[in-house]
Symmetry: C2
Subunit: 136 residues, 2 copies
């Protein structure tokens, strides 16, 4: 499993030294199917609540058929590696005297205002967890 977040594009004085800032992780291992129904439910609840704290208990309960139709994989984090680039461009020494603009154009994942479904039950407002999502 790999996950990468891009933090910016790095503009150098030579094309060769253009780069990107990022945070990347790779988890190594063999995923195992979760078969126990109670454990499966717990993992799914943790997944939903991990993104939106407290949401699981507000939802219509999961049916046996839905549980059956959902595969849950478990991957213990026993071995993982991370690679990160931060900061400005690294140019060749002799290029620092050139009048070429160099720097970073930052990128990040922006979270917008919650958009309510038009078919929501009248008077229902977005819960706090819909405003609190942060990625990266």
């Amino acid at each position: 499993v790999t996950v990468t977040l891009i933090d910016g594009l790095v503009l150098a004085r030579s094309a060769f030294h253009h780069s990107a800032n990022y945070r990347s992780v790779m988890i190594l291992g063999r995923a195992v199917k979760v078969v126990d129904p109670e454990e499966k439910k717990l993992r799914l609840a943790n997944f939903v609540n991990g993104l939106f704290p407290g949401r699981w208990s507000l939802l219509r309960s999961m049916t046996a058929q839905e549980a059956k139709a959902t595969t849950v994989l478990s991957l213990p984090i026993d071995e993982a590696s991370a690679k990160i680039r931060t900061g400005g461009p690294k140019d060749d020494d002799e290029d620092y005297t050139l009048p070429i603009w160099a720097g970073v154009v930052p990128l990040n994942i922006a979270v917008g205002e919650p958009q309510s479904d038009v078919r929501n039950f009248p008077g229902i407002e977005p819960p706090a967890h819909a405003y609190r999502l942060r990625i990266g």
Copy 2:
């Protein structure tokens, strides 16, 4: 080659119907190494200018050693497929009467203000192309 942009998280009335909005493409084919030095240079110039229009001609010229140290792959777009999800949650009919907030939390890649390298030649301001990057 696959590229995916996440446009939002979709919160439904049941855990099962939670989803994500995204635009995803997959290009199928076999990449070929570009060996001709002039073609290689042209492709690299198009790559830089594609992100930052006009930047290639402002840069310190590429050296023969840099060209040699850079592999350029060409992948013709002969066969490609796209998959997209947009819009709100799709819940089970009977769940629309439940007083559970459902909707979308939009996500997008935000481009920040250019950050100038502290070692820039004095008086150099960010070029227009550093402000015009748009992703997605």
